[in-house]
Symmetry: C2
Subunit: 596 residues, 2 copies
């Protein structure tokens, strides 16, 4: 039985950084070679980053990706890595694209995968099933591939597929079975979503059993705009048993020794009818690669997935860190109110980029309690943040002298003056502004447009308020643990007073959130069912929510749509964030019927 040592490079590419991503390929291919791998596998669209969205429709970008692929193939050979087959995702175009057909993406781009070997692009294929739901827009920007490559390597037939081709029944994954592949490689850029790790592993096991061969699943890691890739790459055997698993939210080379069936020269299938009515052609190749120098055996690595709060916190830290860094910032600024939201955002930022790069502004007004100020100061002290205090009373007075504002208009004025301060400091010093809105506020419109909602990135925009508290508590308990993405604060970074106090916007005397919103332990489950699960009015009541509350919250959520569109991006951790994955008309007169 042939044995292959495969290396899964779970790495963090940057969208559009073709040179930087090519350097990652060379660097991680070297690590794989150093560990005696017969093969190294990179994620979907590794060379361009993912998702590239409408950049795929720009011909010069596709050309740049194709050329970068050829350059990296040559460079691997130049650096002595030419014998190691490197499988990587990249952006290509269909050669026979007639172009210009209405509705076909301009230039017929492909979400492609290539085998690089001996300085050449030896094999090219492309994703067949194009996801076009949730955060995915692939019908818009790609044309489907219709070939499954099966590459004979050291006596094993190895097939490659891309991401969604694993998820859809009857497609290229089935074709790999029909082709009697001995190993199936799946290249992925599969965004993190709460609890998705279990779904993915079950899916890999199922497809491995269907195809009757081992399956290696490599995923990207890192943040890209609203998406966070969690890694969690896995290898399963033909029986679906878990053989190896990479950690979440960190770059990792997962090296696994596999005993694989020898390829046979019978009369294997040359094509496969997909259940979508198309036919997948099976392309066969043989790579005459030199075997790597024998190395000692590799112990199987099986990392445990993180528990729920650690996993979510990891997604938020990763999303924040990469949004800051990949956009060329080094530091962030935010307003620190003494409340739980800005406290958690400051802590996430400190974990993500180090407390020395976090700048906070305390902006007390006449309605701020003394507790708020002292709690904020205590947090600054515990975390070692850069802090300054800017009193806004005179600014508010200057506006009030000219304008006669009441109620909400007067409250919003203060929030906007604060935003004006941190935007000014951002422009002056080059910090990225973080904003502290959570999903409960955002969904119900309980925030000020151009006020507290202003900023470049919203780390907790996909966390309901009860989860904000839960994560703050978790973060305090995680002090001293070995969770990899946390700053080593010696003590609990968030003062308990901040976690236990009653929430208030402090924009008028004695204001409390419960004056405007239901208690969060009633609101949040309803928001989850309405927004994430898309239940209608009657289904919400059937699910046990209070009918009066259902009416009230549906009205609030439906009316807050414009405000949500103006909200900055933030790491996505649930099925439905308020970013690109939830597209609703702003002008919409439809209201969930009260009775049907």
């Amino acid at each position: 039985m042939p044995q292959l040592r495969i290396a899964l490079a779970q790495v963090n590419p940057t969208v559009g950084d073709l040179d930087g991503n090519a350097r990652l390929i060379v660097e991680w291919a070297r690590r794989a070679a150093d560990r005696g791998a017969h093969l190294v596998l990179f994620p979907e669209m590794m060379l361009t980053g993912y998702p590239v969205e409408d950049l795929a429709l720009r011909g010069s970008f596709v050309t740049a990706s194709r050329r970068a692929l050829e350059r990296v193939a040559r460079r691997l050979a130049d650096e002595g890595l030419g014998e190691l087959p490197v499988v990587t995702g990249y952006l290509d175009r269909r050669a026979d694209a007639t172009g210009g057909r209405l509705g076909q993406p301009a230039g017929a781009p492909l979400n492609a995968a290539a085998w690089l070997h001996r300085g050449e692009v030896a094999v090219r294929s492309a994703k067949h099933h194009l996801p076009n739901y949730g955060v995915f827009d692939e019908y818009r920007i790609f044309v489907p591939g219709d070939r499954l490559p099966v590459v004979r390597l050291h006596g094993v037939d190895v097939a490659t597929i891309v991401c969604e081709d694993l998820w859809q029944d009857g497609g290229p994954a089935s074709a790999a079975g029909a082709a009697r592949a001995g190993l199936l490689l799946a290249l992925n850029a599969s965004p993190y979503e709460r609890n998705k790790d279990d779904v993915r592993l079950d899916l890999c096991a199922k497809r491995a059993r269907e195809a009757g061969c081992a399956l290696a699943y490599v995923n990207a890691v890192g943040g890209q705009d609203e998406l966070v890739f969690d890694g969690d790459s896995v290898v399963v055997g033909p029986d679906g048993a878990l053989l190896a698993r990479a950690p979440q939210f960190v770059e990792h080379l997962l090296v696994t020794d596999l005993d694989l069936p020898a390829a046979s020269d019978g009369t294997p299938a040359t094509s496969h009818d997909d259940s979508d009515g198309t036919t997948i052609t099976i392309d066969r190749y043989a790579l005459d690669a030199a075997a790597p120098a024998a190395a000692g055996p590799e112990p199987a690595e099986v990392f445990e997935p993180l528990d729920d709060p650690a996993e979510i916190y990891g997604a938020l830290v990763t999303g924040t860190r990469d949004y800051v860094r990949k956009n060329g910032f080094r530091s962030v600024i935010l307003g620190l109110s003494g409340g739980i939201d800005s406290a958690l955002v400051a802590t996430i930022a400190a974990d993500a980029i180090g407390p020395e790069n976090v700048h906070v502004v305390l902006l007390p007004s006449r309605y701020s309690t003394s507790h708020s100020v002292s709690d904020a100061e205590e947090l600054v002290k515990r975390q070692g943040l850069n802090a300054r205090t800017v009193a806004i009373a005179d600014m508010v007075a200057a506006f009030e002298e000219q304008l006669d504002l009441h109620g909400l208009a007067a409250e919003n004025l203060q929030a906007r003056i604060r935003a004006n301060v941190w935007m000014g400091l951002s422009n002056e010093h080059g910090h990225l502004v973080l904003t502290g809105g959570n999903k409960s506020e955002l969904a119900t419109g309980y925030s000020t447009l151009y006020g507290d909602s202003a900023g470049g990135f919203a780390p907790i925009k996909d966390l309901v308020k009860t989860s904000v508290w839960a994560l703050a508590r978790w973060r305090n308990t995680a002090v001293g643990s070995d969770v990899p993405f946390l700053h080593p604060f010696p003590d609990e970074p968030i003062p308990d007073e901040i976690i236990v106090k009653e929430p208030s916007a402090e924009l008028r005397p004695g204001q409390r959130d419960v004056d405007s919103l239901p208690p969060y332990d009633e609101l949040d489950p309803l928001l989850v069912d309405y927004v994430e699960r898309d239940l209608g009015h009657d289904a919400l009541i059937d699910a046990g929510h209070d009918p009066e509350l259902v009416d009230r919250i549906i009205r609030l959520v439906d009316l807050a749509e414009y405000k949500r569109r103006q909200y900055p991006p933030g790491p996505k951790i649930t099925a439905k964030n308020f970013g690109r994955d939830r597209r609703l008309p702003i002008t919409n007169r439809w209201r969930e019927p009260s009775e049907q």
Copy 2:
């Protein structure tokens, strides 16, 4: 030869307003009946409005649409209109949807069309070709229909198709030819785009010739978020000759008498192979409708399309009017600087909702010239707007006392203080804030986030600066004309001084736009080629643009992406606006290569 009088109801539905849209159907069906029509045709998704985006994925909304369709059928009969066949678009779902298949839109929604007759839904069909490019996302939210209904009415075989089915070669429009239909009805919600009217008419003529029958094309009219529907409904003969044409940007009932071939009872086709590999089943129906009372002959109406500036101005007025009204506002507020952008926006607003509903704020600073103030005051006087002046000097001073801001940070501060004033007045008085950014500014990032770019709607966001001037000039010349969507100002509404002055943001002494940007007559054509035509670096130089300018502008445009995402919606008049039709990653390190 049978004769049919057909009525095309070019009307303005509102997304989600099922009751209001149903009332429109009854009201316009009555008008058609009063004019002796044998048939009345409404636009695509008439009952729900278009586009509904992800609302289609909410089961309760689909159910509400289906019920509203049945209700409107009964109501037509109850009101004595049951004999008149009413063809209308609505939202349905596939009855045999298995549901839950990965990648299939939840609930299998259909972009559907129905024939209503004698209180019943007599015929149902659905759009086959689902556009998924530009502003369209229909793969995301619909499943395709696969049937062509052919309805025998007064001895004529009448087929119905929906929008994109007319645009794609070989689909349902060809099936109508194979079915030997005598009349083809096309229901559309086809957004306005500059010069699209000519394309549409040519397409209708081509499809009529291919199908060998007359073709009636009804389009919606009105604004919906960023989209503007221009109407321009047409009827063409089997030879492609134009028989009737409705005006643009106004509701209209286009009534046309057609001599049509009698249906024959040969052995007509029962199905048609589409060029996309699917099969369209031809469903035959017969409606036993009573002939309407004979009425006098209807003269053929053929409206001339508007010339370019009138058409664009019509799109901006329509988009602004409907965004204000359909979102439940009655009045707008904007800052009036004395510059051309805010002057044109104020004028568009006055045309859209009446000058009595337009509120302007003059916010002079120490850098405003006296001309700016007097020019703004002159515009207020000519148009009869509601105006107030708010001096911002003390507010600026209050910030400067606390913050030490320089350069751009200091300039942005003033812009944000102004925004804070108009947002405060908006919150206090319930006006919608209009913002004055144009496409040249927006593309290059020459605006302040949360400053001049703040607001709920951006009427000129899709106009480059040179077009802003051109439209202002055109608007002045249109005084006294019979263009239908203009307020009857007795004199030129825009003072000439505002049109001829050199553009300046007036945020520092002596500032001029040309200090930061190239002259607009060089910048604008380059922006059109880069943004709208998606030309890459080399192609831009080949097109004759200055290489140094190309490098500079590509850099500016690529870096302004985040700011553009924060920009409010505005009427779309070109192939690529900066709204939903241009999706780019914010975090993107790719730059157009300087040489390839």
